[in-house]
């Protein structure tokens, strides 16, 4: 009876084009595929946000060519209020699922988790391939909602029932478009569950000799914790989507209440609970925030340590804080539902853990800042984005303290204050982690260096632009500016239009700034200077292999790990200020 060694790679080198680049089982190719998918999704999502911003500052104005996107949603190139909601839904869904989940977790995690822990591939390479193609199928389902007669759904990325469950009587996009949305997220859940299973098994079982859990680099810990969160969160969203689809196509009544009259028509459903959808959705939805942000925390910590040339104040505390955040993320979902009419005692139960979760988050921030104190930072584009992450995380996170309290949230819940909060802390902060990771790991992934000059220009445009876009949202919210409206024509909102114009111009300029990144990414891939094996003098295992790594990562060898992950500011025998994890050389404090 065979008992395989865990280190033995389960597949040979790819021999055909399809096996090498399309249906590849190599975790590195799959990581790049996820990155590419996220890149497409982020530019589509950004383009949709431009359309929404242009409409908000001139609701009756024409947006040239818009009727090509939807003849019904934009007759005469003027966006209808319903189509604004469709774009809002698609923007949110694309960004949360296909960008913020895919890029920092699935893309970088797939590429670097096995290498960082000394494995030759993921535990289940074929599942890994299935995971990506399932996610790609989910993306196709979602995008196809643009091309069905009634267009994309208008129920938001949260798809609140009963609006999302009743069908086309309730408005445009709620027919086939909403069903495609449900199908897309259902499929996405399957892909994410397969991915999470693979990450967990890989981390637990495929670590190299000497790679104890305490020696795992922080990003690998972050991906592992994130996969544990994703496993339990998507396992709840999956059945929720199934029940939603059944309400829509099979006539069941899980989420649709009795006596619901829409468009003068009594809906043929009875007894369902719209709140049930909210509970199931947010049980997934809040952990999803940490699925987006934890990998970026790990990536940023890794890059900061490398740039500071010294470890963080406490490796162990950082890991424990991330575990605490992951654990607490399951106890706070109700804070998204303070205005749903819940019992005030219930809201108190959700407020307390929400405030408690700020403790590990604050400890993490203080560790980053205190570690930076006195450090001689190597200023690279990656380190700038890492610093930018901390800035965004703090600026966006502070407003969460206010929203955690029901008495304040009830006032602010339906306003732009919330939009500003979650865009900064979940969206932009996480994306800064992705940018940092891209500039840091691009040389390893492609064998070419990115342009640092273009990178720094990109950073400053993005950093200033993000603040110009999202800080005024907080002000708008405090002034009572409601969200989800497609036009602000009420008297008390008119004075706020100049702020909206400022945000729109900032959004367009910041978006254009991303073209610099895209140009840098593509041109460096083909014309960038050749990347050495370890351009940043880093200590972890991915920098001990050629750039890009061979198909089996370590060229048929099995790495052995001798050191903790961040041996910087030391006197190695080689005379360098760092010692790699795989080096057996003596280490002494500098």
């Amino acid at each position: 009876m065979a008992e395989a060694s865990a280190h033995v790679v389960q597949h040979g080198p790819p021999t055909t084009f399809l096996r090498k680049y399309v249906f590849s089982v190599d975790h590195k190719v799959i990581g790049k595929q996820y990155y590419g998918l996220a890149l497409v999704a982020v530019f589509v999502g950004m383009f949709l946000s431009w359309l929404m911003r242009l409409h908000l500052i001139n609701p009756n104005g024409k947006i040239w060519g818009l009727h090509y996107l939807s003849a019904v949603g934009a007759p005469g190139d003027v966006m209808t209020p319903e189509y604004y909601l469709s774009l809002l839904t698609m923007h949110g869904t694309l960004m949360v699922f296909f960008v913020l989940t895919n890029a920092p977790f699935a893309a970088f995690g797939n590429y670097f988790l096995p290498i960082q822990i000394g494995a030759e591939d993921m535990a289940f390479p074929r599942f890994n391939m299935m995971s990506f193609w399932t996610t790609f199928l989910a993306f196709c389902f979602l995008i196809s909602a643009f091309f069905v007669p009634d267009g994309p759904p208008i129920s938001g990325w949260t798809a609140y029932a009963p609006l999302s469950a009743v069908g086309s009587d309730a408005g445009p996009g709620l027919g086939m478009g909403q069903t495609l949305w449900g199908l897309s997220i259902f499929t996405f859940c399957i892909g994410s569950l397969l991915g999470a299973l693979n990450f967990i098994a890989t981390t637990l079982d495929l670590r190299a000799k000497g790679m104890t859990l305490s020696r795992m680099p922080i990003p690998s810990w972050a991906w592992f914790i994130t996969s544990c969160i994703a496993l339990l969160a998507f396992a709840v969203l999956l059945p929720a989507c199934l029940l939603l689809i059944l309400d829509r196509v099979a006539g069941t009544s899980f989420f649709i209440p009795a006596g619901l009259v829409i468009s003068d028509k009594l809906q043929p459903h009875a007894g369902g609970s719209p709140l049930l959808w909210q509970h199931l959705f947010w049980f997934f939805g809040h952990p999803e925030v940490y699925i987006a942000i934890l990998p970026s925390m790990g990536i940023v910590s890794h890059i900061l340590i490398n740039s500071m040339r010294k470890p963080l104040l406490s490796h162990k505390v950082v890991i424990n804080c991330m575990i605490a955040i992951g654990f607490l993320s399951y106890m706070v979902w109700g804070h998204h539902m303070f205005v749903s009419g819940m019992n005030p005692y219930s809201s108190l139960e959700f407020t307390f853990p929400t405030l408690v979760i700020t403790i590990p988050a604050t400890i993490l921030t203080l560790i980053w800042l205190a570690s930076l104190y006195g450090a001689k930072l190597r200023i690279t584009t990656a380190s700038l984005f890492a610093l930018g992450f901390i800035s965004m995380f703090v600026s966006g996170g502070v407003s969460g303290l206010f929203l955690a309290q029901p008495s304040i949230d009830i006032y602010l819940h339906a306003t732009y204050f919330v939009v500003g909060h979650f865009h900064m802390v979940m969206g932009v902060a996480s994306l800064f982690g992705v940018f940092a990771g891209t500039y840091f790991w691009f040389p390893k992934m492609t064998g070419h260096m990115m342009s640092e000059t273009l990178g720094k220009i990109h950073f400053w445009i993005t950093f200033v632009g993000a603040y110009c876009i999202f800080m005024p949202f907080h002000y708008l919210g405090l002034a009572g500016n409601v969200r989800r409206y497609s036009a602000f024509t009420d008297d008390f909102l008119l004075p706020l239009i100049p702020v909206h114009k400022f945000i729109t111009y900032a959004a367009i300029l910041t978006g254009l700034g991303q073209m610099i990144f895209l140009y840098n990414l593509i041109s460096s891939r083909f014309k960038g200077a050749p990347a050495p094996e370890n351009p940043w003098d880093c200590t972890s295992l991915e920098w001990s292999v050629p750039s890009p790594p061979p198909w089996d990562n370590f060229g048929g060898k099995h790495p052995v790990v001798y050191h903790d992950p961040y041996q910087y500011n030391v006197k190695g025998e080689s005379g360098r200020d760092f010692v790699m994890q795989t080096s057996s050389e003596r280490v002494a404090e500098a």
Partner: protein, 219 residues
Amino acid sequence: MATTTHNPATGSPGGNSTGGNVPGDMDLRALLDPSGEPSRTGVWVALAAITMMFVAFTSALFVREGSSSTDWHHLAIPKILFLNSLVLVASSLTLELARRHVAAFARGLTDDVAGPLRWLYGTLALGILFVAGQYQAWLGLRAQGLFLASNPNSSFFYVLTGVHVVHVLGGLGGLLYVINQLDRPVLALRRSTLDSTSYYWHFMAGLWIYLLFIIWIKL
């Protein structure tokens, strides 16, 4: 500041394929091989996700029952469900017998491969019988005029039993794979594959007993 201090490498016999050495201070973590068998871990992780999924279904059932004022009508549970339960539990027993026979074979206590194969085929047959029995239960419900959308009770009945059957079909696929690996001139079955399939199958039996209990008291 360094987090650890090691002495020079000594080139001890604990070398490895890369030519590395055991650290001079005998920090034995470098000798630790933390690798395990992914299929065993994978199946436990998958079972955690499946548990969470059915926890969500159960929560939904409780909330839906609480929100119903008039449409919560108890079903006449098809009697065949109890027979199906016996069949699934029996299949768990036959699989366990197969696993023990394989363990005896692996230890060299017997060279009879046909024995475990018989038990595995028996498990497969009982599994198929269970699925057929569940289908019969759906027909029974249909005969009562109860369809997926008739009332929340029938909705949950079809959803819970249907999702469970989908998972059982996955288990049958696993059993077929195990049989295929065992029934070869050159034995290719990994012990961990058989163990993982067994854990999954036993879990499906346990999950079904739980679902039957929920269906019985709630639906």
